[in-house]
């Protein structure tokens, strides 16, 4: 077995008296299509914020691509190869679809600002390459028709796709998708599932996604981690997790309280 791409050990986030994420253990092998599920308020998005460096963990360790990433700036973690999308879409609304994707390349830019201003050959070549790659990514995500539209004017589903496109431009090893199918119609959801699978199969991107659409998750993910009240209550293949009594209780709140198995 190769080493995990992302590894969380005893990851904990406390906000005052509330423990949003409680001693979460997670190990994500390279190339896996994994899901993080759980009822509302289980701490899924907080987990993403911890991974991506937006929140500093109260306790615990986080290793990504063989490096300790606790305390790094979100931009640094992104440059190491972890990209994310946001649950409440955060696009650059006034910028065009193309510019949104181009922004994703900026973190990898080698030319400094003076060579950008003076349009030195090195920068011109980089800019040209960014434009070409951006066109490819936009095509891949099926947004070519909309490339000059301001991102804020796009339909909800297209905005979700653009978030993925922008994240792809940062050249990620790991892609964190926070409810990518939320607000999509069934047809768009099917397209999204195909896209995510392509990203993994063709571009070797490891994917971890949060999603409430259970059919989408069960069809797409190879491994699931279930969170409830900030704790991992189950993990395993989708069909195993589906039958887990702890999971059923967490979702439906029915039956006798049982021992919560890790």
């Amino acid at each position: 077995m190769n080493k995990p791409l992302l590894r969380a050990e005893g990851l904990t986030a406390r906000f005052g008296g509330l423990t949003a994420v409680d001693a979460v253990e997670l190990s994500l092998p390279v190339g896996q299509l994994a899901g993080l599920i759980g009822p509302n308020g289980a701490g899924k998005t907080t987990c993403f914020n911890l991974f991506a460096g937006r929140i500093r963990p109260s306790e615990g360790r986080l290793r990504f691509a063989g490096q300790d990433i606790v305390g790094l700036r979100p931009s640094r973690i992104n440059q190491l190869g972890m990209a994310r999308t946001f649950q409440n879409i955060r696009l650059f609304g006034e910028l065009s679809v193309l510019d949104n994707v181009l922004v994703g390349f900026h973190g990898g830019l080698k030319s400094n600002f003076l060579s950008a201003i003076l349009r030195l050959p090195g920068y011109v070549a980089e800019e040209r390459r960014m434009q070409d790659r951006a066109a490819e990514i936009i095509e891949l995500c099926g947004l070519t028709r909309l490339r000059d539209e301001p991102a804020g004017s796009l339909a909800y589903g297209s905005q979700r796709l653009l978030e993925i496109a922008r994240a792809l431009a940062t050249n990620p090893k790991l892609l964190l998708l926070d409810e990518p199918a939320a607000g999509m119609n069934p047809q768009e959801t099917t397209g999204l599932a195909a896209l995510v699978r392509r990203l993994r199969d063709e571009l070797d991107v490891t994917v971890l996604l949060i999603e409430h659409d259970m059919r989408f998750v069960m069809k797409l993910c190879e491994h699931l981690t279930v969170l409830d009240h900030g704790r991992v209550i189950a993990r395993g293949a989708p069909h195993e997790v589906q039958q887990d009594p702890a999971v059923i209780q967490a979702y439906l709140g029915a039956g006798e309280p049982e021992g919560v198995a890790p």
Binding site: N78, L102, A125, T170, L203
Partner: protein, 368 residues
Amino acid sequence: MRLQSLLKPGGLLQPGPLPPASQSRRRDTLLTIGACLFAALGLWLLENHASGYVVHLSCVGAIFATLAVSYNLINGVTGQFSLEPNAFVACGAYVTALLTLSPAEKEASFILEPLIWPLSAFSIPLLPALVIAGLLTAFMAFLMGFPVFRVRGDYLAIVTLGFGEVIRVVANNAQSVTNGPLGLKGIPHLTNLWWSWGLLAVCLFFIVRLVHSSYGRALMAIREDETAAEAMGINAFWHKMLAFTLSAFFEGVAGGLLAHLITTISPTLFTFFLTFNLLIIIVVGGLGSTTGAVLAAFLFTYGGEWLRVMEEPMRILGWDIPGIPGMRMVMFSLILVVMMIFMRRGLLGSHDFSWRWLAALLGRRARP
């Protein structure tokens, strides 16, 4: 498949052959050079045939346009609402003036306390003085950036406002350097059309090119959503710092030219009102629009003069109205209010001039 090379490590930005210069880019360069030559001809005509008053106004207009364009870089493009340009203009003005004033003139001016030693003994030409002033102002902005960019939004505005006041107070009290409230007099009148318009051209070259590069996109991304920009690998702190120091550099140099245009400077010139005027200019022009900043700066400079008509005695519908001093400021405020009601996003919104836009406009007109 090309897609597969897309996300491989190092696959994105490897060195490769230069792309051929596109036809439209060459056309745009030619048009820009042509426009510059045309502007130079205009300046030459102004210099030789216009009155001193018009020449002075044109210089003021160009200096304010430079200030507005640089201020817009941090406030409009990067979206960091800051209120300190008066500090940078003051810094540039004082530094250049102290460097170009002759030792004899300095000795005559500093009556209360003599000027400290190295500055009192020499003077240098305008160009190196402007460069030193710009670099010093940029350095000041750099140091200021560390505490200032720890906060955002309204807090940033208040912190920078505080810094602006600090500089004015320092200018008032550091008598052995700034001559305190007396200010500096007898600064050589070296600023002419070529200096002021030349600076505007250089400033536009740098800032327009920056905005239309990957760095400009990053700055706008920070304006749109800082959290998302960070998550996309953009170090927001250093990019704000870049915009801040670059805008401070040009504000400092413009301050130097302003000092050599009006030949007398004192701390009262660099109060919050200077910042306030610049803020009005960039908001009226359209936050984020460089073209709007230039347009509004000239409107602001010339408009104040055109409105003088308002203060003269008039005869309207048989009524004799005596000249009311200050009427033009009332009119000016009214115009601003009406503008903000009907053009909330300023003259140009966040749009900018480009040759492509002009070509498209003319093409549409030409079609039957």
